[in-house]
């Protein structure tokens, strides 16, 4: 559905994208992760034909990007960007008209999209009376109103409370069931973990890692991660190294990669003689892979 080949973009001397290549299959949900300034928004700008690449090729459904491919894309930007004095139905109807939908299709699509985002009962409410979560759902409905082949969701749950976040996740899952191709950018790794079939990690304009979650996990040489709280951290690290544990810091947490499955008692045994406040085991998660790739530059 989306094919990006050796994409390069720079602003003056600063290179923002360097030989970025990725492909998204039809019906796939692909998560594009990366720190601020990694090049995610520039990539989206190029896909949406808002920005010209210096070099490289982008194809949507086999067609090189142009004004015509804009109709194949639906995008829900980071901000809601809605007409606040218009109602939900009026906002949807306006964008449906801009996309050239006939009156009959428009009516059908407006109704369908309102139902899809669970806003049918607020169809005639002005946007300014909606909660942040509802506005975000409406923004997603606008992205879907012209039945695009590719939907781009740019940080769809940023700034939303947990309930609203669950609603958006449910909506994205529905898109997957309907076979819609989705490119999702997010800073919430849990979101990518829950929703995406494949994930790409971008930093400095380069795709540092890509794959399904199990594929990415296989590259971290650990079965589990132990988070250890102790006043004697140096001592704990030295002891861990003797047992073949790799130490890492995740924020203020001191963590150790465990190369094999271990019972809690076995872990405690390894740290015998060192005062421990707490020890907990965690599975290897996307956040660990992400930090490894973006901070330690692990070659995955």
């Amino acid at each position: 559905m989306l094919q990006i080949e050796r994409l390069n973009k720079g602003y003056g001397d600063r290179s923002v994208l360097q030989d970025l290549s990725l492909a998204i299959a039809p019906g796939e949900i692909y998560g594009l992760l990366g720190p601020n300034g990694a090049g995610k928004t520039t990539t989206i700008n190029i896909i949406c034909n808002l920005l010209k690449a210096d070099r490289g090729l982008v194809k949507i459904d086999g067609q090189p990007i142009s004004g015509a491919t804009q109709k194949l894309i639906g995008i829900a930007p980071q901000e809601n960007l809605l007409y606040r004095s218009l109602t939900c139905a009026e906002n949807l109807n306006f964008f449906a008209r801009i996309y050239g939908l006939s009156r009959q299709t428009r009516l059908k699509q407006v109704r369908y999209c309102l139902e899809a985002v669970n806003l049918s009962d607020r169809a005639h409410s002005p946007v300014e009376t909606l909660s942040g979560g509802m506005q975000r759902r409406l923004s997603m409905a606008i992205a879907l109103v012209h039945q695009p082949r590719l939907v781009i969701l740019d940080e769809p749950t940023t700034g939303l409370d947990i309930e609203a976040r669950y609603e958006i996740w449910e909506l994205i899952r529905q898109l997957r069931h309907q076979g819609t191709t989705v490119l999702l950018t997010t800073h919430l790794l849990e979101e990518a973990e829950r929703l995406c079939q494949r994930i790409g990690i971008l930093k400095g304009g380069k795709l540092l890692a890509e794959g399904t979650l199990p594929e990415l996990q296989r590259h971290i040489p650990a079965i589990e991660i132990a988070i250890v709280k102790t006043p004697e951290e140096e001592q704990a690290i030295d002891r861990a190294l003797t047992h073949g544990f790799t130490p890492r810091r995740y924020g203020s947490d001191l963590a150790f990669w465990l190369p094999q499955a271990m019972e809690l008692s076995q872990i405690l045994q390894c740290f015998q003689g060192i005062p421990l406040d707490s020890v907990c085991r965690q599975p290897v998660r996307l956040e660990h892979i992400y930090i490894e790739v973006t901070q330690f530059g692990s070659d995955l």
């Binding site: 928004t41 989206i44 700008n45 949406c48 808002l50 920005l51 004004g67 804009q70 109709k71 894309i73 995008i75 930007p77 980071q78 901000e79 960007l81 809605l82 007409y83 606040r84 004095s85 218009l86 009026e90 306006f94 964008f95 008209r97 801009i98 996309y99 050239g100 002005p126 606008i142 740019d154």
Partner: protein, 257 residues
């Protein structure tokens, strides 16, 4: 067909937003009527003036100088700037909407408002015995040219100069009020000293006012108002071209997520 549908969608959206702001709508209706009454009674107070003659002269100057100026020029600037401030402009750039359709949509919406105001001003003047003495077609053409010129100028200023909604007031005050004074919109030009009257001849508001007053109050035909009409056609064309260039310039700045 694509352009027509897009322009119609933009126009309907602007009008719908205006209808939602009922207080604004009410004030837009009241404003030209108040100005007409003020202008009419000021002119009627002149020696040998009749109420009918005063309102026949006051109607065109009120329409082009006050009503259309603020609704079509100020309104267009406000439309573009508020789209930019609400960032809905960015959302529009993500769609296949063309610049031409966007401009035509704004023009259509403000033409509806302008035509509504024209009907309101002339209906109010007619209530005070004033008559439209010339060709309605010619009068309508002058009003339409004035709307195109104002919308074009507003679009250019809105895309190039005004960045925030607060700028709209400053722009209208800085550019607008002197233009209106020099265009004879509030004070008849005969009240102005000769050097200012000479300068006024380069002011589009002056030509709008003179052309519409000629047709509406004096019953002039095309020949009598030809110099004003040519100036107006040229100015309106210039503003359409300028707004096209301004839109392109805005695209390079705003067309990003």
């Amino acid at each position: 067909m694509k352009y027509w549908q897009e322009a119609l969608a933009v126009a309907q959206r602007i009008l719908l937003e205006l209808c939602r702001r009922q207080r604004s709508l009410f004030l837009w209706i009241m404003f030209p009527v108040f100005v007409l009454l003020l202008n009419g009674y000021i002119l009627a107070d002149q020696p040998q003036a009749t109420l009918k003659g005063a309102f026949e002269a006051a109607a065109p100057m009120t329409l082009v100088g006050a009503a259309l100026f603020f609704s079509c020029l100020g309104g267009t600037i406000a439309t573009v700037v508020s789209e930019r401030e609400q960032k809905t402009l960015k959302r529009l750039f993500l769609t296949p909407l063309s610049g031409l359709s966007y401009f035509c949509g704004i023009l259509m919406a403000h033409s509806c408002i302008g035509i509504g105001q024209a009907l309101l001003v002339y209906a109010s003047a007619a209530f005070l015995e004033a008559r439209f003495n010339g060709s309605l077609w010619l009068g309508g053409f002058i009003i339409l040219l004035s709307i195109v010129a104002y919308v074009g100028l507003g679009f250019t200023l809105g895309t190039q100069v005004a960045r925030r909604i607060e700028d709209v007031n400053a722009l209208v005050a800085a550019f607008g009020v002197p233009l209106l004074m020099l265009g004879g919109a509030f004070v008849p030009l005969s009240f102005l000293p000769t050097p200012l009257r000479q300068i006024a001849k380069y002011n589009p508001v002056y030509h709008m006012n003179e052309a519409l007053t000629g047709v509406s109050a004096a019953g002039d035909g095309v020949e009598a108002i030809a110099p004003h009409l040519y100036f107006l056609i040229g100015f309106a064309l210039l503003m359409v071209i300028s707004s096209g260039l301004a839109y392109r310039q805005m695209l390079t700045l705003e067309r990003r997520l």
